[in-house]
């Protein structure tokens, strides 16, 4: 587990949003659509980037795959992955709280 945390933290924005969208199992294209939706179209992931990131996450046991009825690949977060995203969310929360706390200092 420590190894995985070390390898992925801090996460890139791409990897963070890909993993975050796996709160439920999704197809590769489903991930792209979901990330575009929750970032209001700010992040439009390229399918090559998503495939590359998913392969890396899968090799480290952060996500696993299965096939659906039409034998299409579905990506699912593993228990290790859940621990990783929770640790990352804690870090992002800290960044957010500090952003709110000190934001005013720069407005003057």
């Amino acid at each position: 587990m420590d190894k995985v945390l070390k390898a992925f933290m801090p996460m890139t924005e791409t990897a963070y949003y890909i993993l975050l969208s796996l709160a439920q199992p999704r197809h590769g294209y489903g991930i792209i659509l979901h990330v575009a939706e929750i970032t209001n179209g700010r992040i439009k992931l390229g399918s090559g980037t998503v495939y590359g990131t998913l392969t890396k996450l899968q090799n480290k046991g952060v996500i696993s795959i299965y096939s659906d009825e039409e034998r299409r690949t579905v990506y699912e977060i593993t228990d290790i992955g859940k621990q990783l995203i929770l640790a990352e969310i804690e870090r992002v929360k800290e960044i957010y709280l500090n952003a709110v706390r000190f934001e005013g200092d720069f407005h003057g």
Partner: protein
């Protein structure tokens, strides 16, 4: 009651083994355990029922049954090392999700290469000596040499070993085909051309269809993308490539704004083709090799240019990986050819009386220059990519 069955080649055709396990369950034999070394399956008698089995590979210590699979009542019938046999007692028609085939395909690919390469090397170097030996083995009278004691046994053992490797190799190829066709279509094959050969020939005579040949484009894929995009702008619509990837067939039509992308992967699985196709990319070409896979993708667009890679890190990493691969392959070869040329020239200076055989160093020089050209081309590609990204 316990029943034991040995199946030495079970792992080389998993679909067949899964079917067989299912048939055993219908006959009232439930898989209890197996021995991976002796390749023995141990069954317990149980009530007769239908069980769906799926054989999986996974990393040691990582469970093959994900939460979704467990929710769909898949359970592990046997797990040891990297192997898992998952089972589900629901009716086949009720099953909505299945363990992925990817890990088995990956293992087969590695096995195919590790058996195929030594076999090819062996066939290349040993066919003639082996044929002579086998001839002497069956017709000792016609053979001037004699066999040492024990040589016949070792020859037979060697032949048996080679034939069993060949058998496994063929089984793996067949099993791979079955696995890939399981979902009804082979994703890694470009769609066949819309035109039949006759129409194509007729169009070519009328001048509406043109064929262009481009060699060694993979060393500078960005140049190919640019060229294809320009051709489309001029109204030459690429509609197919040949299977080797060096001929491009265009039809004279309307100008189109299309983004072309050459993508390089070490391996490409079904998930790779799936994600790009569902994202609206059309595949024009993919080389048949499982190693160093080049795939040409395209997508038509109006305003915003689509990108296969939305992050810079991936783009640069790909260019660097490819450039390094060609440097590792070609630079040592270039050095060998230079050494060979120097060696040939020096021999002639040491033995001036011997006639100097000119064609040999010339061939070496031409080959060396060609490899140098490939290396420089791919280096140029990497530098251009780096510059584009840094700007």
């Amino acid at each position: 009651m316990v029943k034991k069955v040995v199946r030495p080649f079970w792992s080389f055709d998993v679909i067949k083994t899964e079917k067989w396990l299912g048939e055993m369950a219908i006959d009232g034999y439930r898989l209890e355990k197996m021995n991976l070394i002796t390749r023995e399956f141990v069954f317990e008698t149980d009530e007769q029922k239908t069980i769906q089995y799926r054989i999986c590979r996974h990393k040691a210590g990582v469970s093959a049954t994900s939460q979704s699979l467990i929710n769909s009542q898949w359970y592990s019938a046997f797990t040891k090392g990297k192997w898992s046999i998952l089972a589900n007692e629901n009716e086949a028609s009720e099953l909505k999700i299945f363990p992925s085939r990817e890990s088995i395909l990956k293992r087969n690919r590695i096995l195919k290469y590790s058996i195929g390469i030594p076999l090819a090397y062996y066939a290349f170097t040993m066919t003639l000596p082996m044929a002579l030996m086998i001839y002497g083995f069956f017709f000792p009278d016609n053979f001037s040499s004699h066999f040492e004691p024990g040589s016949k046994i070792s020859l037979t053992a060697m032949l048996l070993f080679i034939f069993s490797l060949l058998y496994i190799f063929v089984r793996l190829i067949r099993s791979d085909k079955k696995l890939r066709m399981e979902n009804g279509s082979d994703l890694g094959t470009p769609k066949r051309t819309i035109l039949d050969q006759k129409t194509e020939r007729a169009l070519r005579k009328e001048g509406k269809l043109i064929k262009k040949i481009k060699l060694a484009w993979m060393y500078a894929p960005d140049k190919l993308e640019e060229w294809l995009e320009d051709m489309e702008m001029e109204g030459y619509n690429l509609f197919r490539m040949n299977r080797f990837g060096n001929s491009f067939y265009f039809i004279k039509g309307e100008p189109r704004i299309i983004k072309y992308c050459v993508d390089y992967q070490n391996f490409a699985n079904d998930g790779y083709f799936e994600i790009h196709k569902s994202s609206g990319w059309e595949m024009l070409f993919t080389n048949r090799s499982n190693l160093t896979k080049y795939t040409l993708w395209r997508k038509e667009y109006i305003d915003e240019e689509p990108e296969l890679y939305s992050d810079k890190i991936h783009i640069l990493k790909h260019a660097r990986k490819q450039c390094m691969l060609y440097c590792i392959i070609y630079i040592p070869l270039i050095l060998i050819y230079i050494a060979l040329i120097v060696f040939n020239v020096r021999i002639s200076s040491v033995h001036p009386d011997r006639p100097f055989f000119w064609p040999l160093p010339i061939i070496f020089a031409v080959t060396g220059v060609e490899y140098g050209y490939f290396t420089i081309k791919s280096l140029g590609y990497y530098l251009r990519t780096r510059k584009r990204i840094n700007n």
